[in-house]
């Protein structure tokens, strides 16, 4: 290569994806378009949890995206994962979001487990031959997670666990439950993390919750009645459970934000097709300036949210001290913008958007909960403002 060729090349954009990232994105996008999207409306209607398709995703490496390769993971970055989850969500936000939760479970075992624990659970989780659930929330402990009451009492070399976990994704289907329990005093310092086998004696599951959206993944209570869990199933030391629980949230927030971007992008793309075909008052809908401006705003809002999400993901990968605040900002913006864009897309679709058959209302219903979970968007504002005030002192 001659010097003149180098000189004529524009500088590389810091936002440009690598060849690997483009290939990962393409594979996830094709998988979503071919294996998820065609069935998404039916899965939602029938409340069907497609474990076979999840296993297929696992074979591609989607079960342990940022888990150590030594234990069957794919060893990618959070940034890479954000690309993957956005693509998966173009097929169905609910399936993408479950895969995100499953990845958080696998990552927690990888990050906080010892070698034996990692060997025991990770290969099967990474392949999605076994599924994971994350159990933090309780009927009376949501945003205030440190108030959790599920108790684990030491008895010999086992804990005896009693309590109820609420809103648990995958509950009843999952094989591996990462459960935050109280082993000590009240408050955040008395919490530990146990990995509990779904077939344990004394574990039972509540009825399937009837929900506004997210129907393609089961949400049920998990009830522990004198469940005996070996002490060797505890991740890390006693009392660090709250730290473990919180450490998963930054990445979880990126993923759920990415799922909102993907769902909203799919809705926007469908509405673009619709306004290109549908005519009213002698013109195509897409020729009306009011609608063109609306579409421009939708595309702009998604791109802005994506840019912030990428920035936050890069910060998390770089262990930037600002990462938590950036992840909270990105989650807030991406899930609010995602819902609003999907809702506007439904409006552009008119009466057909309201019919289940076209899949638009499903995306709106699915994305609504992203503003509530992984920390409500009010909690995101709390985190952001706390950071602001601290940095101003």
């Amino acid at each position: 290569m001659t010097a003149s060729v180098i000189a004529s090349e524009p500088p590389r954009s810091p936002f440009a994806l690598t060849d690997d990232q483009r290939a990962l994105k393409e594979t996830a996008g094709e998988f979503a378009a071919e294996r998820i999207a065609p069935e998404a409306v039916r899965w939602d209607r029938d409340k069907h949890f497609p474990v076979d398709v999840l296993a297929e995703a696992g074979r591609l490496g989607m079960g342990g995206i940022y888990v150590d390769e030594q234990y069957g993971g794919t060893g990618l970055s959070r940034f890479d994962a954000a690309l993957v989850f956005e693509e998966l969500a173009t097929g169905c936000p609910t399936i993408a979001a479950y895969i995100s939760i499953h990845n958080m479970v696998a990552w927690m075992i990888d990050a906080f487990g010892d070698q034996r624990q990692r060997e025991q659970w990770l290969p099967e989780l990474c392949a999605m031959r076994s599924l994971g659930s994350y159990c933090l929330t309780e009927p009376e402990a949501g945003s205030d997670a440190a108030a959790l009451r599920t108790r684990a009492v030491l008895d010999g070399d086992e804990y005896v666990v009693n309590g109820v976990k609420q809103f648990i994704s995958g509950s009843g289907y999952s094989d591996v439950y990462v459960v935050m329990v109280r082993t000590g005093e009240s408050g955040s310092g008395g919490i530990s993390t146990l990995v509990i086998d779904g077939r344990s004696e004394g574990i039972s599951f509540g009825p399937e919750e009837s929900k506004m959206g997210w129907n393609a993944q089961p949400t049920r209570q998990v009830v522990f009645s004198d469940v005996r869990v070996p002490v060797r199933n505890r991740l890390g030391e006693e009392g660090i459970g709250f730290r473990i629980a919180m450490s998963g949230l930054d990445g979880g927030r990126l993923n759920i934000g990415a799922c909102s971007l993907g769902g909203a992008r799919a809705a926007l793309e469908r509405s673009l097709t619709y306004v290109g075909q549908r005519s009213a008052f002698g013109s195509r809908l897409g020729d009306f300036q009011a609608l063109r401006f609306k579409l421009a705003d939708m595309a702009t809002e998604l791109e802005a949210a994506r840019t912030l999400l990428w920035r936050a993901a890069a910060a998390l990968d770089a262990k930037d001290p600002e990462a938590t605040r950036l992840c909270a900002m990105a989650k807030r913006l991406a899930t609010d913008s995602g819902f609003n864009v999907a809702n506007e897309a439904l409006q552009l679709y008119g009466g057909y958007g309201y019919l289940s058959e076209y899949g638009m209302e499903k995306i709106v219903r699915d994305l609504r909960v992203h503003q509530i979970l992984e920390g409500t968007n009010e909690i995101m504002r709390l985190i952001i403002s706390r950071g602001l005030l601290e940095s101003n002192q």
Binding site: D20, A23, T27, F31, M62, T74
Partner: protein
């Protein structure tokens, strides 16, 4: 079982494809370029054979520098290595020239047991290269395979054409071309994608492969594209309003075209 798969980068069939005005060759810059769908199936079949019988899969590609993307896709699916014949003098090479060049490259590879190709590319659609390549190598050709099985030193295919289905067998080494019915190609796994960039790709020029520049390229082509024109836009169909006689008018229309 060492298998060579022929892979070609083509314009995405979903994008608008154009020929360049100057020499009627494909305008590669105007469309998204992808690994030809039929080649994904050829790669899949090679990987299945490797998984069952061992050996190595080599992706062989002739194309411009940009074709590395198609090679990468084949490697990320699981091919072990690749050979990329890339030389500006190849621009405009016709089917015969392509077969000659590929035969030369195959000659540089050690112990090839089988070559698998798609039966035709989605851009050129001459459907002739696999047969020409077999002829030049002096190997048997089994074309239009909808299934393939290996048994020691022989390969057997079900050959499907408009005329019917025949079972054909040949001694190895042989050239097999496959149809779209043969399999569903796998998605590249994330690990496969990450591993692809570490796999060996040898890039050859005409000189490296011992190819006579006079036999390839536009000037070496035995056929010449004399003119080309874009496909005419689709015309709106004839609309008939049903005024109680719709059925009769449909029959009149069909019988007018000698269709009933």
């Amino acid at each position: 079982m060492n298998i060579v798969v022929l892979v070609k980068q083509v314009p995405d069939t979903w994008s608008e494809r154009k020929l360049s005005d100057s020499d009627h060759t494909l305008d590669r810059a105007s469309a998204d370029a992808v690994l030809d769908e039929i080649n994904e199936r050829a790669v899949e079949e090679a990987l299945l054979a490797k998984e069952a019988h061992g050996g190595e899969v080599t992706a062989l590609c002739m194309g411009p520098e940009r074709a590395t993307e198609a090679i990468r896709k084949a490697l990320s699916m699981g091919a072990d290595k690749a050979v990329h014949l890339s030389d500006e003098a190849l621009h405009g090479t016709d089917a015969v020239g392509t077969a000659k060049a590929l035969a030369k490259v195959v000659g540089t590879l050690e112990s090839v047991d089988m070559i698998i190709a798609g039966n035709e590319s989605t851009d050129g659609r001459s459907g002739a290269v696999p047969a020409m390549l077999a002829e030049l190598l002096g190997w048997p050709q089994l074309t239009y395979a909808r299934s393939l099985s290996l048994d020691g030193s022989t390969v057997t295919i079900e050959r499907e054409t408009d005329a019917g289905v025949t079972s054909v067998r040949a001694e190895l080494p042989a050239v097999v071309s496959v149809t779209e019915k043969i399999n569903e190609p796998r998605y590249p796994s994330f690990k496969g994608i990450m591993a692809a960039k570490k796999k060996p790709v040898s890039t050859l020029t005409l000189a490296d492969a011992g190819i006579d520049a006079g036999e390839v390229g536009l000037s070496g082509a035995l056929t010449q594209m004399v003119s080309s024109a874009p496909a005419p836009p689709k015309e709106a169909g004839q609309q008939v309003t049903d005024e109680g006689d719709g059925g009769t008018r449909i029959v009149e229309f069909l019988s007018g075209k000698n269709l009933v």
